[in-house]
């Protein structure tokens, strides 16, 4: 794989251009809609919708004989929608719970889709759609008009999102309150779900039905780590989605024998991983660092306090105390050596003999100040 070469080709090579654009757009749209899905606890619904889309694609081909993106996408969207309605219906009218309904619809629809695919595969080769590219995605098959379809549909989705931004925000945060204000909550829910279905469907050709759900969840989950504001989260999520899409598509085009879907998903997963670790505030790495810093500060204060107590007992501030004594007093909350070094640097203690330490006058003052503080806290 030749990376500089890849970037050059990006502009020269038509296929690569299409691939990059298609992937970028699906990344953006799914990142944006995925933010709402994740916030509304519909992460796995994306999985359901994308699996359920498979028989829709197959049926669309069987009925229209056409491989055009638009026809297949419409079939996918219809099937995805029907699947969603079935899930809701099952939950509402039976004892079966949401997760079971989801898994049921997902696997049954997908199984049916595979039946149709194997049926189609027996048909004369010329008409065979190579529909199995929809399983794991094959970005290399994106034509200009496919990309245009993706672009237009994606654009419409984003426009709707902008138009109803505050309504979607409200309904996602507090449905009951939205209702009390007079908003048609059910309609808004249907609209938002429809936008989600469309955004999933435009990504199926590139990422495939099996893995598409990750593109709904991963960019949003990653973006959430970087910000506490919805607008920024959605924007960042879109950027992450585009990043994952483009890099995944390019890598899979450059390397041989790797389907696009898994590559994109891996790129997205890497983004999530680093976001979880490194994002300021929420980042786990920073959390650990902060914890360490806090712990050390506490240990240092404890050692200072211990020296103070010892000094009070001996009535000679200058009397040195061995490090063993300090370690015993610290019982198990180690770091005594480190604390002493830090205190020495601050001029609060000094070494009076071999491995013996005592407070300096400044150290005494500081210890007194701290002990007053501690006594004041309830």
């Amino acid at each position: 794989m030749d990376f500089p070469g890849v970037f050059d080709s990006l502009f020269a090579d038509y296929t690569l251009r299409m691939v990059a654009m298609g992937s970028a757009m699906l990344g953006i749209v799914n990142g944006v809609l995925g933010s709402f899905a994740v916030l509304r606890k519909q992460s796995l619904l994306g999985d359901g919708i994308s699996h359920a889309a498979l028989p829709g694609i197959a049926l669309a081909f069987l009925l229209t004989g056409s491989k055009s993106s638009l026809a297949l996408l419409l079939g996918a969207a219809a099937a995805g929608w029907i699947g969603t309605l079935l899930i809701i219906g099952i939950v509402r009218h039976t004892r079966v719970k949401y997760d079971s309904a989801l898994g049921l619809v997902l696997s049954v629809f997908f199984g049916f889709g595979l039946v149709l695919l194997t049926y189609i595969q027996k048909m004369p080769v010329a008409t065979q759609a190579g529909l199995d590219k929809f399983l794991f995605g094959q970005a290399a098959t994106l034509l200009r008009k496919d990309v245009m379809t993706i672009g237009i549909l994606g654009g419409i989705v984003l426009v709707f999102l902008l138009l109803f931004w505050k309504e979607f925000k409200l309904v996602s945060f507090d449905t009951d309150f939205a209702f009390s204000l007079g908003y048609p909550v059910r309609l808004l829910d249907i609209l938002l779900t429809t936008l989600l279905v469309v955004s999933i469907v435009i990504g199926l050709q590139t990422v495939g039905v099996v893995l598409m759900s990750a593109m709904v969840v991963a960019p949003a989950a990653a973006a959430r780590q970087w910000t506490d504001r919805l607008g920024i989260m959605v924007a960042v999520s879109g950027v992450f989605g585009a990043l994952a899409g483009v890099s995944g598509a390019l890598i899979s085009s450059a390397a041989a024998r790797i389907p696009t879907g898994p590559t994109i998903v891996l790129c997205a997963s890497v983004i999530v991983f680093f976001s979880l670790l490194l994002a300021p505030n929420r980042g786990l790495a920073w959390g650990w660092v902060r914890e360490q810093v806090n712990r050390r500060q506490l240990q240092t204060k404890a050692v200072l306090g211990d020296l103070y107590v010892l000094a009070m007992q001996h009535r000679e501030p200058g009397h040195g105390h061995t490090i063993e004594v300090l370690r015993t007093m610290a019982h198990g909350h180690g770091g005594v050596d480190r604390s002493l070094r830090a205190l020495k640097e601050r001029g609060l203690v000094r070494e009076t003999g071999a491995k013996e330490w005592s407070l300096t006058p400044r150290g005494m003052e500081e210890a007194r100040r701290l002990s007053r503080q501690w006594r004041q806290t309830p």
């Binding site: 994740v38 606890k41 992460s43 796995l44 994306g46 999985d47 099952i90 009218h93 039976t94 004892r95 079966v96 719970k97 997760d99 079971s100 309904a101 989801l102 898994g103 049921l104 997902l106 696997s107 049954v108 629809f109 997908f110 199984g111 049916f112 889709g113 595979l114 039946v115 149709l116 695919l117 194997t118 049926y119 027996k122 199995d132 399983l135 794991f136 099996v210 893995l211 759900s213 990750a214 709904v216 969840v217 991963a218 989950a221 959430r224 780590q225 390397a255 024998r257 790797i258 389907p259 879907g261 898994p262 590559t263 998903v265 891996l266 997963s269 999530v272 979880l276 929420r282 786990l284």
Partner: protein, 369 residues
């Protein structure tokens, strides 16, 4: 039927039962989607195991894949515990990542081996009879059958041995914990069983059907019963029926066996949903119509009782008031009033309604009960 056909159906039935058993617990514990997650992510376990062992038929693959299943569950838990990501999102992040790694490994490095991506999804049930197991020179049947048969026995053993603990942990986790059964241990044991079953079934039917068989038959059974023992038995039976009918459907149309079986589980669910006695949709609608009338009668009595002896009673017990305030259409109101009169609960004086002693008793019973 040829011997091969019988063998295929046999394997399919065994797979169905082996999946239905842990599946019951999954749906009861609201962890159905874990089956989806595990069945996808064990692919990477299979891939890595294959690269190490270099033998596709080795039972050690079961171990490596089962470990991956447990790994998946652990990762989800760890991720959820950081509180940065909710549980459903955690599932949706982990299994696609693992599955992608698996697909890439297989596509790139094992493309020439009979471990290709379609097999992953669909299984190779049609080829199962060709993979024989021979002991001491005797051909005793298809390998797949013994593998999944062994797993079925394992599942049965697990459930029978720990039946009480599983039942308690599923229905009352708090009590289980108080009694000393660690729900966490049971949880992980169950997930291990699910992983092992998924691996065993994988070979025969692929990841799609594993999920369908683990969820759909138990969900269908759940429509008609909620007793654990009945659930286990019914879902196994339903699974078997779907397996066999699915096979014949695939045979007739010459399509994917696994796909047809999955489709049949769906069809059975819908059929049960519509037709089940008591809980099916048809039964519910019929009952609702009848209940509406009974409920309305009780409402009428309660309404009359509440206003009896108070100022405003004359207004409240007037027939016209029923339309306004109880929101009953005149024909419906007439029906209810008529039925109540016939029952002897109310008496009528022109357009005013009054409770009889019987009606009063019924009203009080309704409000206290």
């Amino acid at each position: 039927m040829t011997a091969a056909q019988i063998e295929i159906q046999l394997i399919a039935c065994v797979v169905a039962v082996a999946c239905a058993l842990p599946g019951c617990f999954l749906i009861l514990r609201r962890m159905a989607m874990m089956s989806d997650a595990i069945s996808h992510s064990i692919l990477v376990g299979i891939a890595v195991g294959f690269f190490v062992i270099r033998d596709l038929a080795s039972p050690l693959l079961v171990v490596s894949a089962a470990l991956t299943g447990v790994l998946t569950v652990s990762l989800v838990e760890i991720l959820t515990r950081t509180k940065r990501v909710r549980e459903d999102a955690a599932i949706g992040l982990i299994f696609p990542a693992l599955f992608s790694i698996g697909v890439i490994l297989i596509s790139r490095y094992a493309g020439d081996v009979h471990l290709d991506v379609d097999a992953v999804l669909l299984g190779e049930l049609a080829f199962a009879p060709f993979n024989r197991l021979s002991v001491l020179g005797y051909d005793i049947g298809p390998k797949g059958l013994y593998l999944i048969g062994g797993i079925l026995l394992l599942n049965l053993l697990f459930i029978l041995t720990f039946y009480k603990e599983l039942k308690l942990a599923t229905f009352d986790a708090g009590l289980a914990g108080a009694l000393g059964f660690s729900p966490a241990v049971i949880h992980y044991a169950l997930m291990t069983i699910v992983s092992i079953t998924a691996v065993g079934a994988f070979d025969a039917v692929g990841s799609v059907l594993v999920v369908a068989l683990m969820i759909a038959p138990p969900a269908t059974a759940y429509l008609i019963t909620d007793r654990l023992s009945y659930l286990l038995a019914a879902s196994s039976l339903i699974g078997v029926i779907c397996a066999i009918s699915g096979y014949w459907l695939a045979h007739a149309l010459d399509v994917s066996i696994a796909g047809s079986m999955a489709t049949m589980t769906g069809i059975f669910f819908v059929a049960t949903f519509l037709a089940a006695p008591d809980r099916g949709l048809a039964a519910i609608f019929l009952r609702r119509a009848r209940q509406r009338v009974e409920f309305a009668q009780t409402m009428l009595l309660v309404h009359l009782y509440n206003h009896e002896g108070l100022p405003g009673e004359q207004k409240e017990n007037h027939l016209a008031h029923l339309h306004e305030h109880l929101k009953w259409e005149p024909p419906f109101a007439g029906r209810i009033v008529g039925a109540a009169e016939r029952k002897g609960s109310i008496s009528r004086d022109g357009d005013h309604l009054f409770l009889t002693e019987r009606g009063r008793e019924a009203a009080m019973r309704a409000m206290v009960g």
